[in-house]
């Protein structure tokens, strides 16, 4: 482990070597390859990175503080805005945490629908990663291809939730409503064509000598170092650590699905590329299983004091109207307690830590997002490499600044 991790370059003495020849330069926060507003301070010896220090917080909006002033159900739309590339995973993680506090059972169809949507959302996240990562490396075409498929996912989200990105579709107690009638056939059509499209991306990149040379052997980190620095998800599995929360600590009935967890031991940017490409194919498998075995029944829990009633019921039944009014104006009380719910999102292990004091507003919501922890490993991955490799490494760990700064 580099002993200088976390020491700001401008405040610390220069690293070893002929220090007077070292140069400190600033990369970001408006650099196009930093995927948002990430600022890196680099100490360079020529073009070799001696030290690297990420400076974050440019996108901090205090979402955790805002949550404390909202009712439990009002927090759901806030969660979309944290990791805006994988919106349904955010909803799912928060909903699971609050349901754990309430000890609420979700009907089977609700759970399966959640799995299907979480995987669609993962595909969304991975498609953006692939497009932008390849674009950073200089392969501009792939971006146009992956965004074509991503557009179809967003259109399906729009049909489902009325919103393309900020879906808020998965809520405490189930999902908002039944999906539209043609939704499942649309998903089926999409996953029928997607494997060919993935082959297409692969044809453009896997054999491309420039792409290979930019990724193979770059950004190496051992599995032990990666785990020690908090890396999770595809980058951790690309370093040989075989751990996936979906399989190893299943939630929302993931234990009923058969899928493989791609692992690589090469530990470089290329391994991360391969792991994510395989993961997309596994997601398609999971979606296929969810479509084939989709149970029938309600999509919401039978908990009138927590879950909003259907619109027709609300307009025709006195009880339903009272519950609707109470939930909207007073929220619902959640028993005292502290829970942590972890899920595997597109970037790695996401976690919601919710503390309740028994009232209708969460006492504390803490969000553990994978990019925040993974960023700590950036220095270890880039040290001793060329400055251009930083761009490749940032692309390969797939960060979203919205979830780093929250």
């Amino acid at each position: 482990m580099p002993e200088t991790i976390g020491t700001p370059i401008l405040a610390a003495p220069p690293a070893t070597g002929s220090a007077e020849q070292h140069m400190v330069i600033n990369m970001g926060p408006q650099h196009p390859a930093t995927h948002g507003v990430l600022r890196l301070v680099l100490e360079l010896d020529g073009e070799i990175i001696v030290r690297l220090y990420p400076e974050i917080g440019y996108l901090h909006t205090g979402i955790e503080k805002t949550c404390e002033a909202k009712f439990y159900q009002q927090v759901v739309p806030l969660t979309d805005r944290v990791n805006y590339l994988d919106p349904l995973a955010n909803n799912l993680c928060y909903a699971l945490a609050v349901e754990k506090l309430l000890q609420l059972e979700i009907p089977e169809k609700g759970q399966w629908l959640r799995v299907l949507l979480a995987e669609l959302s993962r595909l969304n996240s991975h498609l953006i990663w692939l497009g932008t990562h390849a674009m950073d490396i200089g392969a501009l075409t792939v971006f146009l291809y992956t965004f074509r498929e991503r557009e179809e996912i967003l259109r399906m989200f729009e049909a489902l939730a009325g919103q393309r990105m900020m879906t808020s579709y998965i809520r405490v107690g189930g999902v908002t409503m039944e999906p539209p009638l043609d939704f499942f056939s649309r998903v089926q059509q999409f996953i029928d064509i997607l494997p060919e499209k993935i082959d297409e991306y692969s044809n453009l990149l896997t054999g491309n000598p420039i792409f290979r040379n930019r990724l193979i052997g770059v950004g190496i980190i051992s599995g032990a170092d990666a785990a020690a620095l908090g890396v999770s998800g595809p980058p951790l599995r690309a370093s040989g650590v075989d751990f996936d929360l979906r399989r190893d600590m299943p939630y929302s009935s993931y234990e009923k699905f058969q899928f493989n967890v791609p692992v690589s031991t090469a530990s470089d940017c290329w391994a991360r590329y391969e792991v994510r490409m395989l993961e997309m194919r596994e997601s398609i498998k999971i979606i296929q299983q969810a479509l084939d075995g989709m149970p029938t029944g309600p999509v919401k829990a039978d908990a009138p004091k927590v879950v909003l009633p259907d619109r027709e019921k609300m307009k025709t039944q006195m009880e339903a109207l009272i519950h609707h009014f109470k939930i909207v104006t007073e929220g619902f009380n959640v028993p005292k307690g502290e829970v942590y719910q972890g899920i595997e999102c597109g970037h790695g292990q996401m976690g919601y830590h919710v503390v309740s004091d028994g009232s209708a507003k969460p006492y504390r919501v803490h969000m553990r997002y994978p990019s925040f922890a993974t960023l700590q490993a950036l220095e270890a991955m880039c040290k001793g490499r060329m400055i251009a490799d930083v761009v490749a490494v940032i692309g390969s760990i797939d960060i979203v600044l919205g979830e780093i700064d929250r």
């Binding site: 917080g57 190893d248 972890g342 553990r368 922890a373």
Partner: protein, 168 residues
């Protein structure tokens, strides 16, 4: 082991009696039973409360028991009760496929606790975040600076006596 997690257990004695064969409970009891002040199994999650001065050693003890991955840490402000701040650390075992929570309580306007960053490099940013937003100091942290808020910011936003809206 898994069955015990399905029942509600409140208090140190109840957990020690029911879960003495649990990897983390056994490790903590063997290492220093006196440092374990409280324990709880709630909604399938095991929480162990450790005296704050023993926390770093406790994390080492559970690492030896197989909990190899530092997942998360944060604080909760229980203002105006005392002790005021609760620190929750979450560790995952890749081999046992389990998660446990260690808690420590610190008190006062400007509390201090030993940093776990030298032992768990992943805790670096998380401790900086807690310092930034709660004003809890971590002794032995390599670089305890604000991380999300601007460097010159006054006050600690996630404290309960810090207003959500309006002027400070």
């Amino acid at each position: 082991m898994a069955e015990a997690l399905n029942t509600q257990l409140e208090g140190r004695q109840a957990v020690v009696d029911a879960m003495a064969d649990h990897a983390a409970v056994r490790a903590i009891l063997q290492w220093n039973a006196a440092a374990l002040t409280d324990a709880q199994v709630d909604r399938g999650e095991l929480s162990l409360t450790i005296t704050p001065d023993q926390l770093v050693a406790a994390t080492e003890a559970i690492r030896a028991a197989g909990y190899n991955y530092f997942e998360d840490m944060t604080a909760v402000d229980w203002f105006p009760s005392s002790p005021r701040f609760q620190l929750s650390y979450h560790f995952v075992s890749h081999a046992l496929k389990e998660r446990i929570r260690l808690r420590a309580f610190v008190d006062g306007e400007s509390p201090t606790i030993a940093s776990v960053t030298p032992a768990w490099p992943a805790a670096n940013y998380f401790e900086r975040e807690v310092f930034d937003l709660f004003g809890i100091r971590f002794d032995g942290h390599p670089n305890l600076r604000r991380i999300l808020m601007p460097d010159e910011w006054q006050g600690y936003p996630l404290r309960k006596d810090y207003p959500v809206e309006g002027y400070r």
